[in-house]
């Protein structure tokens, strides 16, 4: 299977463990991930007010490129990129004014084909026809959780995972949500399929502090701590998530959380793709587990060799 | 000045009562339309409209209750359906669809009734007379002289 995949900037730099584990897992699912030619940053934040139309240009350009390459869908793992692409796409479908204005702007684009060096100057207007999918949706709808379950090579039942959705996968409901914002189950269903023990906890859709960790770094400590603490209190031994920013706030910044909350002594955080790749039998080196501030390796029975284990399904 | 003839079919419960209210409020308006009271706007079918044009009407007006307010639950929707299809036919038949107007006017909207009648009279005045008088063969002449 071949599908368009938009990694986003962070995955190529700071979140290589998310990128690598995604590629490793998808290779094991026989899925060829194709990046749209010449992709740029999606803009990270969707413009919420009508006059900031320029914020729509990068995501629509990316989507249009997917369409030019005859792709009908594009998959992302970064929750921020997902939300921007999906909202931009929806605006192109539902908002005629934005549709016209963005397409007028994009009509002036010049595209040089990297192989033929041919110049292209005429573009059809982009009408929101590309389907934007989060990898979790792709796994559920295209791969099928039943099928996924049948491919699991390792026993993960000892890993008690608290699935953390954060904001970007669930809100705003009408524009973005991959599931019901208050009682989502898609993440849980996925974790169940790969054999983890799922821990329900009430902070799964609460914000981690988001980009305030750059502008007012201290303010993100409390929300991040509450998420981690709640997961722990409810019996999890790891938090799984899909957003490099949440990961930064909750793992990379854990030493600062510890400074503020003295009783806190660290809690491992993983990308869901790391669990997926591991379940599918990937080598531990491919998961980038050494990059974590709070070492998650004790959770993984490193000696466990995928081929030797009989998984009881 | 051309004084258009306008045939008005008004539903008894809403628009006719609205026209009465215009009267009790002494609102003056152009006298070109004459009302025919029906129980419900849905009593009117395209035959009546065609007949009115044929008999000399330059415009036909149908007044009913606002959607959801019909005394007979949903008669006004039936009128709307008929008028929608009939307007397409009017275009094919060379009758300007603007010569037929369907409007929802409630018993409380005397003012709206008056404004609508004035406005419609002006519309028709601008469209000019319809002149549907039957031409005889001799008047009509023949083609290739």
């Amino acid at each position: 299977m071949r599908v368009h995949y938009y990694p986003g900037c962070t995955l190529k730099e700071k979140a290589t463990n998310l990128e690598d584990s995604t590629r490793e897992a998808m290779a094991r699912l026989d899925t060829d991930l194709v990046e749209p030619e010449g992709w740029t940053c999606c803009g990270a934040e969707y413009p919420l007010i009508t006059e900031k139309i320029h914020g729509l240009i990068p995501p629509v350009r990316i989507l249009r490129q997917v369409e030019i390459e005859e792709g009908s869908k594009v998959v992302t793992t970064c929750a921020f990129c997902f939300a921007v692409l999906k909202r931009a796409n929806k605006a192109m479908l539902d908002n005629p004014t934005l549709h016209t204005r963005v397409n007028e702007y994009l009509a002036d684009d010049i595209l040089i084909d990297p192989t033929t060096k041919e110049k292209r100057t005429h573009f059809e207007s982009y009408n929101g026809d590309v389907q934007v999918l989060h990898l979790l949706e792709y796994l559920r709808d295209e791969v099928g959780l039943g099928h996924l379950k049948s491919l699991v090579k390792r026993d993960l039942s000892h890993i008690k995972v608290a699935p953390y959705y954060g904001c970007r996968l669930l809100r705003p409901q009408k524009e973005v949500a991959i599931d019901d914002p208050e009682t989502p189950t898609i993440f849980e269903d996925f974790l169940n399929a790969i054999g983890c023990t799922v821990v329900d906890f009430p902070f799964k859709q609460e914000c981690c502090g988001s980009y305030l960790s750059a502008s007012m770094p201290e303010t993100s400590n409390e929300p991040s701590y509450r998420v981690l603490n709640s997961a722990k209190m409810n019996g999890a031994n790891v938090v799984a998530l899909s957003c490099p920013l949440c990961y930064y706030n909750m793992d990379t910044r854990q030493d600062r959380i510890k400074e503020e909350y003295l009783e806190f002594n660290g809690f491992p955080v993983l990308y869901f793709t790391q669990l997926l790749a591991w379940a599918l039998g990937a080598d531990v080196e491919t998961l980038g587990l050494d990059k974590h501030l709070c070492d998650p390796r004790p959770l993984f029975d490193i000696k466990q060799n995928a081929e030797d284990v009989e998984v009881n399904l | 000045m051309f004084e258009p003839k306008i045939m008005c079919f008004l539903c008894k419960w809403c628009t006719y009562a609205g026209a009465d209210l215009a009267g009790t409020s002494r609102l003056e308006f152009s006298p070109n339309g004459i009302n025919l009271r029906v129980m419900c706007s849905s009593r009117i079918d395209p035959q009546h409209i065609l007949h009115a044009f044929k008999e000399g009407a330059d415009g036909v007006f149908i007044g009913g209750c606002h959607p959801g307010d019909c005394h007979y639950v949903e008669g006004n929707y039936k009128t709307l359906r008929r008028v929608t299809l009939f307007k397409t036919m009017m275009e094919q038949l060379g009758l300007d669809p603007k010569r037929l107007r369907l409007e929802w006017i409630s018993a409380a909207e005397g003012k709206k009734y008056v404004e609508t009648m004035n406005e419609f009279t002006e519309t028709i005045r601008n469209l000019g007379p319809l002149n549907l008088e039957e031409k005889t063969l001799t008047e009509e002449g023949v083609c290739h002289e």
């Binding site: - | 009562a17 006298p31 004459i34 009546h48 009407a57 007979y72």
Partner: protein, 656 residues
């Protein structure tokens, strides 16, 4: 047409209405011009037609000139049509031969130009003459009334309506789908603002209903269908098998004692358990046990049979079958009540996942002496007495984006009651109420609310709670106090949601069958929100209680009595009179295409597929004429407003 070829003799009477008409319209000229119009026998003008001498003039002329139709050119027909119809009737003329030409409201009062107004008046009168030429004598349609009523729903509303109808001397059938009557009210502990015990006031009424000689109670039954029309309905009622003979059952409870099957108890909102064979509650009416076959271990393939074995009265019959009972009634009162909004929809409050987050009815059961805790306030999870209780108003109400847009009306009062009753039971407890607005419009309502704050020191915080979650054995409530501008977090032992009221389960489907319209929220739609609040547009159907929208007990009861009075007024007549300006079928022209059937909102037209014609129930026909306009064969013609009349009138207006 009445006059078999004979020319009609029409009288035209043009009213001056003082100067109201004559001040603008040249009335003499109108009368003069009409004299020669075909069909007109006599034409005159008079200063006040509606005055005594004016009416006398009409009366005399009808007799004198043997007029068989009259046109009164005067004010709007809404004012004096009835007046002149009565006058004409005195002279022996059929009232449907009287036509009013509206030359005041729709001419003299709106067109000051004398010439134009006069020309218009002439055309208006001529059009009415054209109509009159083809008018027929019509007699009102009479239909008998079957003086027996059906009440759907055995809650307080239904019972009140039944009692009030029965007390007027008419027979009533009450159909209730549950095993006992009593509805939601019987589940309440105490009622606001008087705090009298709900059961104490309702149980006597329930018993009274069973004893009333005019009332037939059918519990565990549902209305299958209703056909017919006002005064003459045929009802099919499905009586579900109870598997227990009501008459034989001695209420000894032995069957329940031996029954091995335990299920959540509906009466206690699932906070306790009952057996598969059970009595819903001790005062249930009718007093009998019911075997819930869905929960029963099954009589097949291997019958458990324990209950039957112990029943000395031999009241248990496993072979009881569902019965369809047919009844004839003349009127129907719909009192199907309400349900509480589904807690599952409120994911942010935990859905149904937290045992200690309760809805209002569940808390009523906890407060009730007959409830699962015997009236002691204990929380469901561990039976501990909660010391901090948070009450949340508007749960699911006033939220157009996610839930219901409307205000559920009773929650402010019952929340005050809940908090107050809680404080009565747990003196050292804290009650915190989150509200948006406190609405206490009702007799003694605000005083009651003031008692809650003044006497019981209940803390009211103005803000809507955003989230509830569990931490340890506490419920954490995230709220806000908008008055101080602080985000508030409360550790509560128990949370009570003032859950929105919503349409009762199955009501939209039933109403579709009864042809009663419902609004966007699923509440029954009244014929007119101001002037006909307990009637349906479908004649013979009366509506009452919370099925129409959120309301408290006194309001529901008042509506029940109002509906009963309406039924009484209907039954007071031996015959119903129905306007005869209906749309019958000309069978010679009708081929039964069926187009007019869906035109009729009243179901008056049915297709006889064998005869290939439409049959019209003239009692149901309201005479809107939608079918006449739709009939492509011209076989549906409205009496006294036929196509031919409309054509003539149009011609008179445009060419006259």
């Amino acid at each position: 047409m009445k006059d078999d070829g004979k020319k009609k003799r029409i009288g035209v009477f043009v009213c001056h209405c003082g100067v109201n008409i004559a001040g603008v319209v040249d009335v003499e000229k109108v009368a003069e011009l009409l004299k020669d119009y075909p069909g007109v026998e006599f034409s005159t003008d008079y200063v006040y037609m509606c005055s005594e001498p004016g009416q006398q003039l009409v009366l005399d002329k009808i007799k004198e000139d043997k007029l068989d139709s009259v046109i009164i050119a005067a004010c709007s027909p809404t004012l004096h049509e009835k007046t002149f119809q009565s006058a004409a009737e005195l002279a022996g003329l059929n009232p449907h031969q009287v036509e009013i030409a509206n030359i005041r409201e729709q001419d003299s009062w709106v067109h000051p130009d004398r010439d134009k107004a006069t020309v218009k008046a002439v055309k208006i009168v001529k059009s009415m003459v054209e109509k009159a030429i083809q008018n027929e004598d019509l007699e009102p349609i009479k239909v008998g009334v079957f003086k027996k009523a059906l009440v759907i729903g055995g809650g307080v509303t239904g019972l009140q309506a039944a009692m009030d109808i029965a007390d007027q001397g008419y027979e009533v059938i009450v159909v209730e789908k549950e095993p006992s009557v009593g509805g939601k009210m019987i589940q309440l502990s105490e009622t606001f603002p008087t705090l009298d015990c709900s059961q104490c006031i309702l149980t006597p009424k329930m018993v009274e209903v069973t004893r009333h000689p005019k009332i037939k109670l059918m519990t565990y039954s549902e209305v299958e269908s209703i056909s017919g029309f006002v005064g003459n309905f045929k009802v099919r009622i499905k009586k579900k098998p109870r598997f227990v003979d009501e008459d034989k059952c001695k209420l000894c409870n032995e069957c329940a004692d031996v029954c091995p099957q335990i299920v959540p108890d509906e009466y206690n909102m699932g906070l306790s358990f009952r057996k598969a064979i059970y009595m819903p509650f001790p005062q249930a009416v009718p007093g009998t046990y019911t075997l819930d076959m869905e929960s029963c271990l099954g009589t097949l393939p291997i019958r458990c049979g324990k209950c039957k074995d112990v029943c000395d009265a031999q009241a248990i019959d496993y072979d009881m079958k569902e019965e369809i009972i047919e009844e004839e009634v003349g009127a129907v009162v719909v009192a199907t009540g309400y349900d509480l909004y589904d807690m599952k929809a409120l994911g942010e409050y935990g859905g149904e996942n937290y045992e200690d987050v309760l809805n209002g009815l569940e808390f009523e059961r906890i407060l009730s002496a007959s409830g699962p805790t015997g009236g002691k306030v204990q929380r469901p999870s561990d039976g501990k007495v909660p010391k901090n209780v948070v009450f949340i108003q508007c749960a699911g109400s006033r939220d157009p984006e996610n839930h219901n847009s409307y205000c559920s009306k009773i929650c402010c009062m019952y929340t005050a009651k809940h908090a107050m009753l809680y404080k009565h039971r747990v003196h050292d407890g804290n009650a915190i109420v989150f509200y948006i607005d406190v609405r206490t419009g009702g007799k003694n309502f605000d005083e009651f609310y003031q008692r809650a704050t003044d006497d019981e020191s209940i803390l009211y915080l103005r803000g809507k709670v955003s989230k509830i979650f569990k931490e340890g054995n506490k419920m954490i409530v995230w709220g806000v106090d908008t008055l101080t501008g602080q985000k508030v977090e409360v550790e509560a032992d128990m949370v009570v949601l003032a859950m929105a009221m919503t349409k009762a389960d199955g009501v939209p489907e039933l109403m579709k069958k009864l042809k009663i319209s419902i609004d966007g929220n699923g509440w029954l739609a009244e014929a007119h929100p101001k002037l006909r609040p307990v009637e349906s547009l479908n004649q013979g159907f009366y509506l009452a209680g919370a099925a129409l929208g959120p309301k408290d007990i006194p309001e529901a009861v008042a509506q029940a009595s109002a509906a009963a009075a309406k039924v009484g007024a209907l039954f007071a007549k031996d015959e119903l009179m129905h306007a005869p300006t209906i749309v019958p079928v000309i069978e010679e022209l009708c081929s039964g295409c069926g187009i007019c059937v869906s035109m009729c909102p009243y179901g008056a037209r049915t297709l006889n597929a064998v005869r290939k014609v439409i049959e019209v129930n003239e009692v149901l026909c309201e005479g809107c004429g939608a079918c006449a306009a739709a009939c492509p064969a011209g076989a549906a013609q409205q009496l006294n407003q036929s196509d031919s009349q409309i054509f003539s009138m149009v011609k008179a207006i445009l060419r006259g």
